[in-house]
Symmetry: C2
Subunit: 302 residues, 2 copies
């Protein structure tokens, strides 16, 4: 009896459809359907049956879904004992983060922490790469990014926890002349008109690399911080920009193209003072951050 099958049946019971259960468990409906098939084979009984264009649990399936609640409760008991043993983390943890990383991290981190006694106090900040480390003096956790390495500049003496490696792609309008190619190279984009970012930002580093690789100077029309603003400009013109893969919506007239001949992934990391790193609540938040970041990376893997 595989607990994961029980959990899936429970998810299906609660959410009503394979598609919804898939979303909730961060996989595709196809994966869920395959796992349901395996579960039915192993239990040797039909657990879901077709219902219109969806499915519904059979009586057997409902029995097992209910059983999953029993098992989940037992697991929660163990978790509670584990938390008590470790010293249950509580209190306020302050986080400051660059917005584009916060966008894909904090919602789920907050969900994850909802059942704990930890309160998050968050803020966002849009500054140059080298300025992030300094914020660790005033915040429990600083979520920083860097193109050059896991440790952002100025992080000497600080604890750095890698969270994710997020590719930075070339964003363009869906009707851009380059939109039909699979990926782009520096030579493809050097002569285009760009929306840039302020100097010192990791995205700017990518633009510098393009200039170095091609020996030409880019035409940078604007230098803007806010990604949504950048997206809105990219969408209605033939200007292009470097945008992060994990948070740039690609169903709204923008497409992302990988830059294949330049290493253009930024390291997103949590930076914090070592003493703060010892607090259990901070550790718990870091665990949540790493978990969510890992999930997001997995979802975006090609």
């Amino acid at each position: 009896m595989d607990v994961r099958h029980l959990e899936l049946l429970r998810e299906l019971s609660e959410r009503g459809s394979v598609t919804a259960a898939a979303r909730a468990t961060h996989r595709t409906p196809s994966a869920v359907s395959q796992q349901l098939k395996i579960a039915q084979r192993e239990f040797g009984m039909t657990l879901v049956e077709p219902a219109g264009r969806g499915v519904r649990l059979t009586e057997a399936g409902r029995l097992l879904a209910d059983g999953a609640s029993t098992v989940a409760a037992a697991i929660e008991q163990v978790q509670a004992r584990w938390d008590a043993y470790r010293g249950e983390p509580s209190g306020t943890v302050t986080i400051t983060a660059l917005p584009s990383a916060a966008t894909f991290l904090l919602a789920e981190v907050m969900s994850d922490l909802a059942s704990t006694e930890i309160r998050l106090e968050c803020s966002d900040v849009d500054i140059a790469e080298a300025e992030f480390a300094g914020l660790a003096a005033d915040h429990d956790i600083v979520i920083a990014h860097s193109l050059t390495g896991v440790r952002p500049a100025g992080a000497d003496g600080l604890t750095v926890v890698p969270l994710a490696q997020e590719p930075l792609d070339v964003a363009m309008a869906a009707d851009h002349p380059l939109a039909g190619v699979a990926a782009v190279r520096a030579a493809d984009v050097v002569d285009r008109e760009w929306i840039g970012v302020p100097l010192g930002y990791p995205f700017d580093t990518v633009l510098h690399m393009i200039e170095q690789v091609t020996g030409a100077e880019l035409t940078i029309d604007q230098r803007l911080r806010d990604n949504r603003l950048v997206e809105s400009l990219v969408r209605v013109s033939h200007r292009i920009a470097i945008l992060p893969r994990f948070t740039t919506p690609t169903d709204s007239g923008i497409v992302l193209k990988e830059l294949t001949d330049i290493p253009s992934a930024r390291h997103i990391s949590a930076v914090l003072r070592p003493d703060r790193a010892e607090r259990l609540a901070v550790q718990r938040v870091l665990l949540a951050l790493r978990h969510v970041a890992s999930e997001v990376e997995r979802r975006h893997r090609q």
Copy 2:
């Protein structure tokens, strides 16, 4: 919190060593050690510590091992509800089986069923391939083998459940001239002296195939049924025999060589009358048989 990690800690707690826990869970100590390492990483705390040449659980590890009992109890509750839902199987199930398959199947099947109300009444029988199906009239489950296909001869109208596919190898003494080769071909063994089996046995079919492939007639010194007897003769001479891979001990002066140019795996299957197949207890035994057979196959995979 991965239930499998909890179960492993519990197994380690109960059995006292990595090696014993590995044996109990049908894997190598290395695999258990690796899983413990992953568990410690995920729990973020040391769960086992060195103790002499073994390990012992830390306080944290014991807490989680105890937690595994809580979860296991919940799973048992679900299992009990599931059994009740399906109609708890009980009663006597009679099995007759060829000995070499029974040897690697029945001990674990009996263990598996120890907590049920099912009583097994077993017997072994050593007969020709075509004779097995007829036994289904008098036994709930007949464990048969065949070289030609999953369905043994004479199984028309019977339910056939595939259990395993077991290679039949060429067995020889460890000091046999061929003992040093990785595998053998028909041409390598056709001129050797053989211990055979009675006509009509699947092992005999392999010998016929060797004759067909090479166009020569084998020298078959004896025709014997009992594998242990055959092994004892092979061990002290340069005669060779076809023996099954899953049960032939290879740490006692005998080595097994794969016959690479002849398909020489036997199909082991459970044969039973369809009406008997409907009994829950019989289904439960079949489940156990399939499970154990699958485990044995996995263990013997190269």
